[in-house]
């Protein structure tokens, strides 16, 4: 029986992180395939509802990855995202969704290698945490 393959949803910003993802692809770096990338224009547009929806639908981990502070194409989208993730990291653990299942990272346009490493590290940590409780019984 293979190890448990987590379902991880990654909201990836169209500018720096997506460029790094493409770079990881073209430089043939392999990273876990069970991470589903959803391209958003900016991490600032990731509504807390998207994260809640992902967890309630059975995601074991949610990653939000955007540009380094100061690199954001829209100047301050990433700062606003950071505050929303801080809010969610206060609310979700209250209901049993461990703090480390929701992650926020900054990835630069030429950090292809780092992108692949982060994806693998995230995947290993979520495997360690085991399946999320919503996968076993869905929230009503």
């Amino acid at each position: 029986m293979g190890t448990f393959e987590p379902v991880i949803v990654a909201f990836v910003c169209n500018w720096c992180t997506y460029t790094a993802a493409d770079l990881a692809g073209t430089s043939r770096l392999s990273y876990p395939t069970n991470i589903r990338l959803i391209r958003v224009m900016c991490t600032g547009m990731v509504d807390p509802q998207y994260v809640i929806k992902a967890f309630l639908e059975g995601a074991d981990g949610v990653l939000i990855s955007g540009c380094h502070p100061g690199d954001c194409h829209y100047i301050n989208g990433n700062y606003k995202a950071r505050r929303r993730i801080k809010l969610l990291k206060e609310i979700l653990p209250r209901f049993g969704i461990e703090k480390d299942r929701l992650r926020l990272t900054w990835i630069g346009a030429s950090d292809g290698i780092e992108f692949a490493e982060i994806m693998t590290r995230l995947n290993d940590q979520i495997i360690e945490m085991g399946p999320s409780q919503t996968r076993l019984n869905k929230a009503i």
């Binding site: 460029t19 493409d22 224009m41 600032g44 547009m45 502070p69 630069g108 030429s110 290698i113």
Partner: protein, 1148 residues
């Protein structure tokens, strides 16, 4: 009426800026570059000063965004109006502006970009390894390679000179994208001249083996005879030969046949004679004993030039040279730092690559040679600048800031325990926020700044771990010896060789150091009409100045095209397929019918995918009508079958899974034209690279993966609202506030391109600061220039001047400002309200007042302005003066006002030289902290010293003191070098109090602009949008933007003009497909979305109680949608319903 077309030679940062400005205005642009990728220097820089952040993508167009690429510029650029030709050189230019004939030479690209899927098989097979110029030679790459790691098109390119034509890649390429053109090397005749027989014969053998026809001669005389009876393409000659030596032979051979390529061969000792020969026209030199590979690759390089005979001729209206500059190569000349010899010595660019994620260290800072981690780094400033030994009597003005940035980056990325030291003579932080950046580097990042110049470097023999020993003397005179793991040479700038040659060929004036000379008071007009210098070509500039010059050059081109009667595209014809409004409105009412198509790309998909179960699952989604498998969509027949399928099943949405070239935006637009299916309703997926990336995964796993990706696209397609935003009415009148030289130039520039301008000045005379100036430091007559400009302004039919007038903005709504103009001295005058589309704030600035507490009845302590005006009104007679002291940074560059006003040092040198010229035995002392004579102004610093001006350096903690003594002023300071107090009795003390902006906050707020911490205009991005504000319709130039000299003020005004024209040239502006919208019914007017919008694109309409959006200002970031709890702020194209459904699909 023809559409204007401009050639931009050089697709670096400035080339891209000029091209985009013109393309957005609506002109056609031909953008060429000799390298194989666009972006030039910027591709290799991850971050730029003064924020050590990256802002490259902020150059992309703001409105009409779907015309251009919407991703990181390092992935590449495309724009509807720009044609990009890479590996192309500009050979010659003829004709007049408005009718220029340019000949271009392009390397034939052996790989067809429309077929190459970027699979990388050819790279794996290729046997040839070459130094990778992208990583400055620190790593190797194959002869077939990806031009830049992130390039989106990831089409592979063949390095024309390195490729040995072995043909392996041609065989292995799965899509047959590689085709070699046949070569006839016999036609290439080489003459080898050497007095030693063994050398002659061995070279003949090697070259013959490569297929060239070779003749040998044992003496110079014999060579000349051989040249008489048959022509040669290349000559390799030794230097030390009896009878006629190599250099003499070179001269004679060149007379006979000028485009003969000559390569000198010299023993190791005689290198400088070879370098000398190169100055007289030799192409290159080889040092004996040389190995065959070096000889072959050099010969191939020459052969490659010979091989590309045909050139392409284009007809354009204007030419912008944006070749930029090259960095000084430290190993030329005396090379005191052992660059290339000692292991740890690298240049600035190499260091940038060392710390980059795509660099040799792969994100870790390791020693380029020993691979060990690096702990101690030193930066040596002024390598190849301010150094007569390397022929550079100028300062390259950017290396100081580059080194500070690199030091900060090293510490932030690799740990604050890294020891970083900067050795400098004058730390030239000349930009607005640069001094703050230096303070941050010193205080927060603990970077050590040592004022000393290291003369040479050698290995520290005591420690044999390759660390480098540097000796220097500190200010107190004692000698220190420090060792470092890595030494970064802050190399200066040199003119781009190819550009200077072109300039010489077209008899354009170049300055003594080989940079292209621009006409007085302009940084873009060259001595040849019709050819403009964009970016840093004409001199040493940082990114924000290069971008400003690039925009100004675009303005120059726009003026030329307007005068030649050429039109812009927008006015010319509206491109129907994109905005077919009613067609799409009907579509909106239809239920979504999706067709999903997968291209098997030559292979049989059933081997890798369980196609049946995929079709079954996808068809369970009601909106997805059918799933089709097709083949070879890249070919014309393939595309034909797809178009027929669309016309037959007539879906209103398409999900296309194919290879990368098939899903480019342009290809989808073409498909849209042919099939009638609007391109915004096609969702694409690169399934080939997914299949390639995990070749060994089994069928069910891969099917599930592809199914999930397709489901996400299907959910996007089914919830997408097809109705595009309606086009926004945009006012085509401009308002310029402020009548200084910046306001005048902006107004004239816009008016010259055919748009009406209202120029408002609060005083009753036009001219601002220029009214009281007479000469610039280069001796140009300012008053004459001002009179000419004012006359031009007053007689211009497109300009209405309002003198003694105040402005008061009476509101901005999408597409238009309204401003009330009121006469200053007639309070009861109701004023005149004008409507305008853009606003340029050019309110200027002035000399800061002198805060000196001592009472000074005879006015002996003056500011620079007061002194100059005193001299002009004959109140001060230079002849009668004995001693004058000038104190720089007086009351500025300290905690109160921490920015360098950039111009006071140059102004002090001008006054000093003026005084010395008027009265040679006057004693002039200049007390300074850092002499900011940047760029070519360094020569005036040398002239001042030559004319006997004494310079005293003082420490900011121990400022000079002045007190009155009868009619003289006693100045007390300290000579840091002699370490003794100094007292000077001066007739006059001139304080450089720096520049204060004159941009009231109320005025800026009225137009949605804002001020920065120093109360100057706050730019959207100090580097990449230097004259724009966050409100895309408001710009600024001149002193209210940043402290600058007259030329710099003029160039910011021209840049602001083109940035305005790109809006004025459109009657209606269209926004991008992804743009914000408001659902007024559910909106509770809490204005959270208005406050959070970084672009001020949302307005509160309190009468109709709704939020109004300027679709052209909205950039589609979606921050408003995320902050609105009720979902009334919606991001069209990526709304919440679509996102939630995509999440559903992703997690299933």
């Amino acid at each position: 009426m023809a559409i204007g077309k401009t050639l931009v030679a050089g697709a670096g940062l400035s080339g891209i800026r000029s091209a985009l400005d013109l393309a957005e205005t609506g002109y056609k642009v031909l953008l060429i570059d000799q390298s194989d990728h666009i972006g030039g220097l910027l591709c290799q820089l991850d971050n730029q000063f003064p924020t050590s952040k990256c802002g490259y993508c902020r150059m992309l167009p703001m409105f009409d965004r779907d015309q251009s690429s919407q991703h990181c510029l390092r992935k590449g650029l495309f724009h509807k109006n720009i044609e990009i030709l890479l590996s192309t050189q500009l050979m010659s230019v003829e004709g007049e502006p408005g009718d220029l004939k340019v000949t271009l030479k392009q390397n034939p690209s052996l790989i067809d970009p429309s077929l190459c899927t970027g699979c990388g098989e050819c790279e794996r097979i290729c046997p040839v390894f070459v130094d990778d110029p992208f990583n400055e030679g620190l790593t190797k790459r194959k002869a077939v390679y990806l031009p830049s790691p992130q390039s989106f098109s990831n089409t592979y390119t063949i390095d024309y000179t390195a490729c040995t034509r072995c043909g392996e890649c041609e065989k292995i390429c799965p899509t047959g994208a590689i085709k070699f053109i046949d070569q006839n090397r016999e036609k290439f005749k080489i003459l080898v001249v050497d007095d030693e027989k063994i050398v002659r014969d061995s070279m003949k053998e090697w070259l013959k083996e490569e297929g060239f026809s070779v003749t040998a001669a044992d003496s110079g005389q014999k060579a000349l005879e051989l040249m008489d009876d048959r022509p040669f393409n290349m000559m390799l000659t030794d230097i030390k030969m009896p009878g006629m030596d190599g250099v003499e032979l070179l001269a004679k051979a060149k007379e006979k046949n000028d485009d003969l390529c000559v390569i000198m061969m010299t023993a190791y000792a005689a290198v400088d004679s070879a370098v000398e020969a190169m100055k007289q026209g030799a192409l290159d030199y080889l040092t004996k004993p040389f190995d065959p590979d070096v000889l072959i690759s050099m010969t191939l390089k020459v052969y490659h030039e010979f091989e590309i005979a045909e050139a392409r001729v284009e007809q354009v209206d204007a030419l912008i040279l944006a070749g930029g500059t090259e960095f000084f190569k430290p190993n030329l000349g005396k090379n005191p730092y052992g660059y290339g010899v000692l292991p740890g010595v690298v240049t600035g660019m190499e260091f940038e690559r060392l710390i980059s994620g795509t660099g040799p260290g792969k994100g870790k800072l390791i020693h380029p040679k020993t691979g060990k981690p690096v702990r101690k780094i030193a930066w040596f400033q002024c390598v190849g600048s301010r150094d007569v030994q390397t022929g550079a009597g100028f300062c390259s003005s950017v290396c100081c800031m580059i080194s500070i940035k690199e030091a900060i980056l090293a510490k932030e990325k690799f740990g604050q325990d890294l020891e970083t030291t900067l050795f400098y003579m004058d730390m030239r932080t000349i930009g607005k926020s640069f001094d703050d950046y230096r303070l941050k580097a010193r205080e927060e990042n603990q970077i050590r700044f040592v004022r000393a110049r290291i003369h040479s470097l050698d290995e520290d023999l005591k420690k044999d771990d390759g660390s480098l020993l540097a000796r220097y003397v500190d200010m107190q005179g004692n000698i220190h010896e420090d060792d470092f793991d890595l030494v970064v040479l802050a190399t200066g700038q040199r003119p781009a060789k190819q550009m200077t040659e072109l300039a010489l060929k077209n008899d354009m004036i170049i300055n003594p150091w080989g940079f292209i000379e621009t006409t007085p008071f302009s940084m873009i007009k060259t001595s040849r009409k019709g050819i403009l210098s964009g970016g840093s070509l004409s001199g040493l500039k940082d990114i924000s100045e290069s971008v400003t010059c690039a925009s100004a050059a675009a303005l120059g081109a726009c003026k030329i095209m307007h005068e030649a009667g050429k039109k812009t595209i927008d006015a010319h014809a509206i491109d129907m397929d994109e905005t077919d409004l009613n067609g799409l409105a009907v579509l909106a009412r239809e239920n979504p019918k999706i067709l999903t198509v997968l291209c098997s790309c030559g292979s049989d998909l059933t081997q890798t995918l369980d196609v049946e179960s995929l079709k079954l699952d996808l068809n369970r989604i009601p909106e997805n009508k059918s799933v089709e498998i097709m083949d070879k969509l890249c070919t014309d027949e393939g595309k034909k079958t797809l178009v027929d399928m669309i016309q037959k099943t007539n879906p209103n949405r398409l999900v296309l899974g194919a290879c990368l070239p098939c899903i480019y935006k342009q290809r989808i637009k073409e498909l849209g034209k042919e099939s009638g299916l609007h391109s915004s309703l096609v969702e694409t997926l690169d399934i080939i690279s997914i299949l390639k990336q995990y070749p060994d995964s089994q069928i069910p796993e891969m099917t599930q993966r592809i199914e999930r990706e397709l489901k996400i696209l299907i959910s996007k397609a089914r919830f997408k609202n097809p109705v595009p935003k309606e086009r926004l009415e945009s006012n085509q009148n401009a308002l310029v506030i402020g009548g200084g030289i910046a306001g005048i130039t902006a107004a004239l520039s816009i008016a010259d391109c055919g748009y009406h301008v209202d120029l408002v000045e609060k005083d009753d005379t036009i001219g601002g600061n220029l009214l009281w100036m007479d000469k610039t430091v280069d001796g140009l007559d300012i008053q004459a220039y001002l009179d000419e400009k004012v006359k031009e302004l007053e007689f211009h039919n497109q300009v209405t001047i309002h003198k003694k007038t105040k402005t008061e903005s009476t509101g901005q709504h999408p597409g238009e400002f309204s401003t009330l103009l009121k006469k200053e001295d007639e309070p009861k005058d109701p004023g005149e309200t004008i409507l305008h589309g853009v606003t340029i704030l050019a309110t200027g600035g002035g000399q800061a007042p002198l805060e000196v507490d001592a009472d000074d009845p005879q006015q002996k302590e003056l500011t620079q302005k007061e002194f100059e005006m005193g001299v002009q009104d004959q109140k001060i007679d230079p002849e009668k003066l004995e001693t004058v002291v000038m104190i720089q940074c007086s009351g500025t560059r300290d905690e109160k006002r921490n920015y360098c006003s950039r111009v006071c040092c140059i102004r002090a040198l001008k006054n000093a030289l003026f005084l010395k010229e008027k009265n040679p035995d006057i004693q002039v002392y200049i007390l300074y902290r850092d002499m900011m004579s940047y760029g070519f102004y360094e020569q005036y610093y040398t002239n001042a010293k030559n004319s006997g001006v004494i310079f005293f350096q003082y420490d900011s903690a121990d400022k000079p003191l002045t007190q009155m003594q009868e009619d003289k002023v006693l100045v007390k300071t300290r000579d840091l070098l002699l370490d003794m107090p100094v007292e000077i009795e001066a007739d006059y003390v001139i304080h450089a109090t720096g520049i204060l902006p004159d941009l009231p906050k109320a005025l800026a707020d009225q137009y949605g602009a804002s001020l920065d911490t120093f109360h100057f205009f706050k730019e959207a991005d100090s580097k990449f949008r230097p004259v724009d504000s966050m409100n895309y319709r408001v710009f600024s130039c001149g002193l209210s933007l940043k402290p600058c000299t007259i030329e710099e003020a003029v160039v910011t005004a021209e840049a602001a003009a083109i940035r305005a024209i790109r809006i004025l040239s459109h009657e209606r502006l269209v926004s991008g497909k992804i743009v914000a919208d408001t659902r007024t019914a559910t909106c509770s007017m809490c204005e959270m979305c208005v406050d959070t919008c970084p672009y001020g694109a949302r307005f509160v309409d309190s009468i109709e109680e709704r939020i109004v959006i300027d679709p052209a200002a909205c950039q589609g970031c979606g921050v408003c949608a995320a902050v609105c709890p009720s979902g009334s702020a919606v991001l069209e194209g990526l709304d919440m319903r679509l996102m939630l459904d995509s999440i559903d699909m992703a997690v299933s």
